[in-house]
């Protein structure tokens, strides 16, 4: 039997990892609503990132369904079940496997409501481990970037245990398809690398709370420059910002938390204050959400900017396996720091 990182004692409830927080959210939502069920590959033993660990014992195989390796089939099945009133959650082993279900998501899931003139709704959550983690090109996609811009989908990219829980509960209660994209280095399941930052583990209240989709969050206030980053990049950026604070530079770190809907207003408010903007994302620079944000800020707030908008992202390439090369293409703390300092010189 797989085990998780030290499970928190209920009395102490000090610090949870993202996967522990997500599992709490899932449990609470399944207890609250009989219509919620979860399906995916190998989830009987917890799934790839232990999101569903121990769930069969409480909810049974009726509500925790082990599927064949059949992504298009079970995504389509979940769509049909959602149309008829159930609230499925699909636990993807790796978010990268979602592409075999591309048609089901883009052509069916995202459009059926619109094409039907609003006759149906599809409350369906996709739990998707994303990003590069030393596994080569086919297990390294920034899935959120691929689906970014598809109307009808919501996209959430939580980075902290607190956000993960509150956002997940909102995603389950949302009446739309939600891609819930968590970087593979953020779950904190046993045997997997956990990104280290001041917020990669955190306090999660025992009392129920929800975080609405589409609200960004300032993870570190600052006055000299605005940095927008999500997922794993948020942690790297925060480490850099905390180091720079000691050197006398005040970086405001904004976590969009959701890519769709995107809280552009909060970024504008921050830029009005700092007059400088750098955007950090792990996905390809070409066509990423950062490109859209740069265009929006240029269009709506260019008068407040004292310098060009700079972006840190992965070049337009498949992700190489060699750790040396992977580290070279994926943004790291050194690149983020260098870009911030460059921008301050402009």
């Amino acid at each position: 039997m797989l085990t998780d990182n030290a499970a928190p004692a209920q009395s102490a409830r000090c610090e949870l990892t993202v996967v522990q927080a997500l599992r709490e959210a899932l449990r609470e939502e399944m207890r609250r609503d009989e219509l919620v069920f979860v399906l995916g590959e190998d989830i009987r033993i917890g799934g790839s990132f232990l999101f569903t660990l121990g769930l069969v014992e409480e909810f049974g195989l009726e509500r925790v369904l082990n599927t064949p390796i059949s992504e298009a089939g079970f995504v389509g099945l979940a769509i049909g079940a959602a149309i008829q009133g159930l609230r499925p959650i699909i636990d993807f082993q790796y978010g990268d496997f979602i592409f075999t279900a591309f048609d089901q998501i883009i052509q069916q899931c995202a459009k059926l409501r619109y094409m039907s003139g609003g006759q149906i709704s599809i409350p369906l959550v996709f739990q998707l481990p994303t990003g590069a983690s030393g596994r080569g090109a086919q297990h390294a996609n920034s899935v959120e970037s691929v689906f970014y811009g598809i109307p009808g989908l919501k996209i959430v990219t939580p980075a902290t245990p607190y956000d993960a829980k509150g956002l997940f509960k909102s995603a389950v209660r949302d009446n739309n398809p939600v891609l819930f994209c968590v970087h593979k280095h953020l779950y904190g399941s046993k045997g997997r690398k956990l990104a280290e930052s001041s917020i990669s583990r955190g306090h999660v209240p025992a009392d129920e709370y929800l975080i609405p989709l589409g609200k960004a969050d300032i993870k570190k206030p600052g006055s000299d420059i605005t940095l927008v980053a999500n997922g794993l990049m948020l942690h790297l950026s925060l480490n850099v910002a905390e180091a720079l604070e000691g050197e006398g530079l005040s970086v405001e770190v904004v976590d969009p938390r959701c890519l769709a809907p995107f809280d552009t207003q909060l970024v504008i408010d921050s830029v009005v204050k700092t007059s400088r903007l750098v955007i950090v994302e792990e996905g390809s620079e070409q066509g990423g959400w950062g490109a859209q944000l740069a265009a929006d800020i240029a269009g709506q707030a260019i008068g407040y900017l004292d310098a060009p908008i700079l972006r840190v992202a992965t070049p337009n390439t498949p992700i190489p396996f060699s750790p040396v090369l992977e580290n070279a293409v994926i943004p790291d703390e050194a690149r983020i720091r260098k870009t911030i300092l460059e921008l301050m010189e402009m």
Binding site: F37, E62, T67, P68, S70, A72, G73, F74, V75, G76, L77, A78, I79, G80, A81, A82, I83, Q84, G85, L86, T100, D103, Q104, Q107, Q108, L112, R113, Y114, M115, S116, G117, G118, Q119, I120, S121, I122, P123, P151, G152, K154, N175, N176
Partner: protein, 337 residues
């Protein structure tokens, strides 16, 4: 299966209608006539250049869709294909709302957002059509999953063409439905052609239904141009599904009277094949059977046909008189509240 051939139609010996309720027979015929007249009218409107978009007519395939839908209850659901007008009318979508949809009007069954390729009405159990070949099969299985989970007793029926049986989504759906014993009927309208490509060019076996056994479900190939034969086969599958027996695959051999879509004359089909199949046109054949039944008179049949013509005329007038959607409404329904 041995009694049928994929090449030319073989009309089986058809049993007497005595065992069937006269109202059911009338309903079968009325819906077939409704589809035939609706599609002929749509074709006219296209040729006149009045109707926008594209169309894939169901002419010739009326018996399969009507026989299948009348074997369902009102609260059972169907999924439709790109050739969906007949499926929609068979399940009970109103001719007026369907016609208005084809014109892109606000009064259409999908408020004009769907068009010919996406017709349907959830109020009568017709999920607005999925035009991507094979993609509806897992969704139908999913609706059946919800029915089973909630023990509602409903079933889902998935319409698809023989072309879909070569798609991955279709195979995945059949496997999942069989493994989880879902109350779903996979109903193939095998009209022998995927656009211009004959089934024998793309399948090394003769019949789609042969694939059923590979997934562990019953499968049968039937003559699809007689509504009673289809009705009986679907009825059996529905009873099995409601009783918890799981899915069934039914393959109806039928034939398009025209091409794949409006700009396709269908001339890639051999003359001998077309002539043979056109002789099996389900409408005159079933009309003749009804007239041979003492309970239904010629006068009654003619009145029924005339009343359908009135319905179609009214549908066209309704569609033409209806307003287009308001421009400001273009961005409605992208997200649910």
């Amino acid at each position: 299966m041995q009694s049928l051939s994929i090449q030319l139609p073989q009309v089986p010996d058809i049993a007497s209608l005595d065992a069937y309720d006269a109202d059911l027979l009338r309903d079968l015929y009325r819906r077939m006539v409704l589809i035939r007249q609706f599609e002929l009218k749509v074709n006219d409107l296209f040729l006149q250049g009045i109707m926008p978009g594209t169309i894939h007519l169901s002419l010739g395939q009326e018996a399969s869709v009507v026989g299948a839908c009348l074997a369902l209850e009102a609260d059972d659901v169907i999924t439709l294909t790109h050739r969906g007008h007949g499926q929609a009318l068979a399940k009970g979508v109103s001719a007026a709302a369907l016609m208005a949809e084809l014109f892109g009007k606000e009064t259409g069954c999908c408020r004009g957002r769907g068009g010919s390729l996406h017709v349907g009405d959830m109020a009568v159990g017709a999920l607005p059509a999925i035009a991507i070949v094979g993609a509806s099969s897992p969704i139908a299985a999913g609706m059946a999953f919800a029915f089973k989970r909630q023990a509602t007793g409903q079933v889902a029926l998935n319409f698809f063409g023989e072309g879909a049986a070569n798609k991955g989504d279709w195979h995945e759906a059949l496997n999942l439905a069989a493994v989880w014993k879902l109350p779903v009927i996979f109903l193939c309208e095998n009209n022998l052609y995927g656009v211009s490509t004959h089934i024998t060019e793309v399948m090394a076996i003769e019949f789609v239904a042969e694939r059923a056994s590979a997934y562990g479900m019953p499968g049968s190939t039937i003559y699809g141009n007689d509504p009673i034969i289809v009705y009986e086969a679907v009825k059996t599958a529905v009873e099995r599904a409601r009783a918890g027996g799981g899915p069934t695959l039914i393959e109806c051999l039928t034939y398009r009277r025209g091409g794949h879509k409006r700009d396709d004359p269908g001339t890639y089909r051999p003359q001998e094949e077309m002539e043979a199949w056109f002789k099996t046109d389900p409408l005159p054949a079933f009309r003749a059977r009804l007239l041979a039944d003492a309970r239904i008179s010629l006068c009654e049949i003619e009145a029924l046909e005339a009343s359908v013509a009135t319905t179609i005329d009214a549908a066209v007038n309704f569609a033409l008189d209806s307003d287009a959607p308001a421009i400001e409404s273009a961005l409605e329904h992208i997200y649910a509240d």
